[in-house]
């Protein structure tokens, strides 16, 4: 999954972090544009919870909010060059390796916006219980075109897996946020993030995802 951009939006709808990871369509926008995009996403997020169809309100079918754990999303992959360092545990800040977490988890975002698919990109949104939103823009295009019977089963899995990978990935960005941003004594709450360590860690994780 190729991540183009990551945005972090605080609980009042203000943009506190924005980073582009490749020279793509998003890179010609200036920071003002991103501020507008962030507040639009924040307000749309709120409205989507109001238009639940009546059929859903009546039946209340149990949608499964559990997101399975997908191993090693965004972690150093095992390739021949790195097997030499196999015995050296990866430094993950305050987490003991090899990965940030190992269990499936329940999504806090039950009726807000989660995913936006267009012809050119897919946007995933992960909201935490404190109202913080992590947004990832990926240049992978998800198409739910079900062609033949065989094709449709594969596409089903591909579409589901992609959003689960995105949720796993964004939760790890949340873990990095908890470490490098929250524990920085000079960071003021709700303000834009200016931490090089956080930047580096996020960049490392995005590169590992490619």
């Amino acid at each position: 999954m190729a991540i183009e951009t990551i945005l972090i939006i605080n609980k009042s709808g203000g943009l506190i972090y924005q980073r582009n990871f490749s020279e793509s369509f998003a890179s010609k926008l200036n920071s003002n544009d991103f501020l507008i995009i962030a507040s639009t996403i924040h307000s749309v997020f709120a409205i989507t919870s109001q238009i639940t169809p009546k059929a859903l309100q009546i039946t209340q079918n149990n949608v499964d909010y559990v997101i399975p754990y997908i191993p090693m999303v965004g972690m150093e992959s095992s390739n021949p060059q790195q097997t030499r360092n196999a015995n050296v545990p990866v430094k993950l800040g305050s987490y003991k390796g090899p990965d940030f977490f190992k269990e499936p988890f329940i999504s806090w975002n039950k009726s807000g916006l989660r995913q936006l698919s267009t012809d050119q990109f897919t946007m995933y949104i992960y909201q935490t219980m404190t109202g913080l939103k992590f947004v990832a823009l990926s240049s992978n295009v998800l198409s739910t075109n079900a062609g033949t019977m065989n094709g449709s089963i594969d596409k089903t899995k591909a579409v589901n897996v992609a959003s689960q990978v995105a949720d796993n990935f964004l939760r790890k960005i949340y873990c990095l946020y908890g470490d490098y941003v929250m524990k920085d004594p000079f960071y003021s709450m709700e303000m834009p993030i200016k931490s090089e360590l956080f930047d580096k860690a996020v960049k490392r994780m995005v590169n590992n995802l490619l």
């Binding site: 305050s94 003991k96 806090w108 975002n109 039950k110 908890g178």
Partner: protein, 208 residues
């Protein structure tokens, strides 16, 4: 001697009453996450905290009311940040009431950060206030309060601030205060958590 060794000594068999599946899974989560966090030396932690408290005593000229207040404020700023770390690590779903909140605090939160599991007791009649009894407070290892401090100082007041800040960020407006402290000559160290109200307006949209 790291905290790991003192864990073994404090693992006395406690009488296990009927545990709900939720509390068992909270305990398991707490243990798991504790195992996966980097640790520091417990003496360093205790000494650092002691240095903070004694420096505050010097700075404020032994005005213990002000010192309590300052410790609370420090704890508050830690709490509003620590909650993000806690949620990122454990991804616990929202607690459905103060009962679940007390379980999450004692079995998960205290376990992950201080490796202690305080007991939950003294529920109020409306089930909106409870006490945490801390048996082995890592902040006050080897500490003895001088006579003037024994009347007024709550040595571990930073814990109250941490709980207040963290709970406020998940939309629970609570009052947290010490009721008794072993350092002051009382029988046990008791922390009281009282819910004022749930900040409904601030609950993030999309959570139902």
């Amino acid at each position: 001697m790291s905290r790991q060794q003192s864990i073994n000594s404090s693992q006395t068999p406690t009488p296990t009453t009927a545990q709900s599946p939720l509390s068992r899974s909270l305990k398991a989560t707490g243990e798991e996450v504790w195992k996966r966090t980097e640790k520091i030396n417990a003496e360093l932690f205790t000494l650092t905290y002691g240095a903070i408290v004694s420096q505050l005593c010097t700075d404020y000229g032994r005005d213990f009311v002000k010192i309590n207040e300052q410790l609370y404020q420090m704890g508050y700023s830690i709490g509003v940040r620590l909650i993000e770390d806690f949620l990122a690590r454990t991804a616990l779903p929202r607690c459905q009431g103060m009962q679940e909140t007390s379980e999450a605090l004692s079995k998960c939160a205290f376990k992950v950060f201080l490796n202690i599991t305080p007991r939950v007791t003294n529920w109020s009649s409306g089930k909106d206030a409870f006490s945490l009894i801390i048996d082995d407070n890592p902040l006050s290892d080897f500490v003895e309060l001088p006579m003037d401090a024994m009347e007024q100082l709550w040595y571990s007041n930073v814990l109250c601030g941490v709980l207040k800040g963290a709970l406020e960020m998940v939309q629970l407006d609570c009052d947290v205060f010490f009721v008794s402290d072993i350092l002051r000559g009382d029988q046990q160290t008791e922390l009281r958590v009282k819910l004022n109200k749930i900040l409904k307006d601030e609950i993030p949209i999309g959570e139902d």
